[in-house]
């Protein structure tokens, strides 16, 4: 293609990688973004459902910590989500995209239910417990190992494979429910169908789950950080070629790690079915297998951080759930927006934006940068960095504000034009007013 030569222009900004942000700054940035997203959703709730931001945030806390029962429910949900996220961490660290936690947990639960159904009336209860746990772990591991073997030997795309396995598991659960429940209601009941078997309660129905979650968190932290296995899987994740070169059996590591991942998912299934619900349905996991992926990724596959991220997700879910809305889809939106903010903020942690400077300034900047950097003291460097971040942020806000203003004007003009046109076409009715605000809200959402 031949084009007329134009004077070269720098792009508005360019992006470069950074890994020099101190943990304090990272922590502050993340915390700030979370706070900001709370405020943002608060404002959104004001516009959409008429709850003002402060009441909204207050309600969030009241909904999660209001009564002792609510705290127990928070802990229970937290434990389950954390277990799933922990199960996924080793697989993700190995860059094996295990999207199949939903199915693996469900299979663990189904195996538990099978033991309860077929063995519950034949063996003493403690023996059944043992069978439940072993069967649950094996089923979860099996569901994870099948894609792992295909990945290890034929490099089958694991994301798509594990995704499909979820739905096979859901249909299997539905199949067994329909086989077991003869009256056609499709509801499997603990007392009537599963011989009333439940895992032992340790004073509180949710304590067992909580204990398992704590043990798994500590265990996974040690496994990933201090064990040989943990080291091997992180090498495989960084570069398979390196792993092969230093003599790691990549196939073995993939299959072993996925077996572990599936086994922990299986344990979660055992807890969900054996201890918490006492029965299995297709909605037992309820999408937490997918939420676990997000939690695990946001927590950087570090069990300690994962406690925080899963707490955040459960907090939002439980808090908005207690708002007593007629419109029950609001929690999903709030969680979605907060997580979008966090995902977006990660970019600013690992990349640096450099804005185009005006020609004159460029000379000055070059001069200062030319000065021997080695002579700068640590303090000066720090100050310099802060200055840059400040400038970057200022620029960012200014451009964003300009963009928003432009966009708002454009959208406003267009909608006005569209409605003027619409008025000519059809006769205007008072209803239109409501729609107009509706579409505007829409655009704000996106």
């Amino acid at each position: 293609m031949h084009k007329i030569e134009r004077p070269m222009r720098d792009p508005l900004f360019h992006i470069s990688k950074r890994d020099d942000m101190s943990w304090k700054k990272r922590f502050l940035l993340r915390g700030g973004v979370i706070l900001f997203s709370f405020l943002f959703t608060g404002i959104l709730s004001w516009i959409l459902i008429g709850v003002d931001p402060f009441t909204f945030i207050g309600k969030l806390f009241e909904g999660t910590f209001g009564t002792s029962r609510r705290i127990w429910l928070l802990l229970r949900n937290l434990a389950i989500l954390l277990c799933i996220a922990l199960a996924l961490a080793p697989a993700f660290k190995m860059r094996f995209w295990n999207i199949g936690a939903e199915g693996q947990v469900l299979m663990g639960g189904l195996a538990t239910a099978i033991c309860m159904y077929y063995l519950g009336d034949k063996l003493p209860e403690p023996v059944v417990w043992l069978f439940m746990v072993v069967a649950g772990i094996l089923a979860g591991a099996l569901w994870a190992v099948i894609p792992a073997i295909c990945k290890a030997y034929w490099n089958t795309n694991e994301t798509l494979f594990t995704l499909m396995m979820n739905y096979v598991a859901i249909q299997l659960v539905s199949f067994f429910t329909n086989v077991w429940v003869k009256d056609g209601s499709g509801v499997l009941k603990n007392a009537t169908h599963l011989n009333g078997i439940k895992l032992p309660e340790l004073g509180n129905p949710y304590l067992l789950t909580l204990l398992v979650a704590v043990l798994l968190t500590v265990g996974m932290f040690i496994y990933l950080k201090y064990s040989k296995h943990g080291y091997e899987l992180s090498v495989v994740g960084e570069s398979e070629n390196t792993a092969r070169y230093i003599g790691i059996n990549v196939k073995k590591v993939i299959i072993r790690t996925m077996a572990l991942s599936g086994a922990i998912c299986g344990i979660t299934g055992v807890l969900l079915v054996g201890a918490i619900n006492g029965s299995v349905t297709t909605a037992t996991v309820g999408g937490q297998g997918f939420t676990g992926i997000i939690v695990s990724w946001l927590g950087k596959f570090n069990p300690g951080f994962m406690v925080l991220t899963s707490f955040l997700v459960i907090f939002l879910d439980r808090g908005t759930g207690q708002l007593n809305l007629t419109n029950n889809a609001f929690p999903a939106i709030v969680t979605g927006i907060v997580i979008f903010f966090i995902i977006g903020c990660e970019f600013f942690i690992s990349y640096r934006l450099k804005f185009r400077k005006k020609k004159k300034q460029e000379g000055e900047v070059l001069q200062t940068e030319d000065a021997p950097a080695a002579e700068q003291t640590e303090e000066a460097k720090e100050r310099n960095l802060l200055q840059k971040i400040g400038d970057g942020a200022k620029n960012c806000v200014l451009t964003a504000a300009r963009g928003v203003k432009k966009g708002a004007l454009f959208i406003g003009n267009q909608t006005a034009k569209a409605f003027r046109k619409g008025k000519d076409l059809f006769k205007k009715k008072p209803k239109e007013k409501a729609e107009e605000t509706q579409t505007e809200k829409e655009e704000e959402d996106v």
Partner: protein, 321 residues
Amino acid sequence: MNIIAFLSSAIRFSAVFLFGSTGETITEKSGHLNLGTPGIMCMGAIGGCVGANIYVSNANTIHAVPAILLPLLFALLFAGLTGLLYCFLTVSLRSNQNVTGLMITTFGVGLAKFIKADLGESVDAAIGAVCTHFRNLFPFADNLGWFGEIFFSYGILVYLAIAVAVATAIILKKTRVGLHLRAVGENPATADAAGINVTAYRYTATVVGSAVSGLGGLFFIFDYMGAWDSGLTSTEALGWLAVALVIFTVWKPDLGILGSILFSALYLLPNFVEVSFAMRDLFNMLPYIVTIVVLVLTSMRKKRESQPPANLGLNYFREER
């Protein structure tokens, strides 16, 4: 079992999968594994509802052309905007595609439900008033016996789905744009070096692909159901099947036409044969199992034409080595 009726309803229902999978194929060819497709299909469905609501509450008499066009445009707009959000996060902010995609699904389903609840009851009436125009494009089909039932008994969206799939196949295979798009999905660094604007291709492909996927939701609500899918559970499940179909058809939209008919036949089969509920579940499992088998077989055979785009699921950052 009435073979003709079965075949014609399978072809009709295939539009859900065909729209979904064609859109997802366009997206995946650019290297984006958009796991947000189910959410985007729900957004397409609610977009249609908003369009229908605006039209029905403003028009005195309902004409066929605007009654189809307005929901169609809004479905494209809503689904496209959701795709844009996904693109912004993955291309511009370089976030993980799997995480973002799953988030888009949760968010899209939630937002669709929220908007539906916000619009209130009037939408149901609007869907009812508009949906007849989406069905039976050719009124003479009844006079042609079985021939008419198999080829002419559908609404406009079914023909549109096939047209879009054929057009996509031609664009991908025969045009320069298609070649560039495939290059971006296979190896963005090479494409970039060759002077192809990777960011622009990824943005355009994903937004267009999402808009097309969204029409699947529109078809499901306005043509097939003729009413709102209250839990949105079927729309979401159909979205995942559409993602599966992309693999099943080894990223070829022209194969997708046959594949979607097969999928919808498997999906509808339990309605046409007398089976117990338990057997029905096993039937419903078939599309997924078939997809898994195809996925494993293609990876075992290592045939170059039937591999996923090499950079599927990976973000491109020029300065990264």
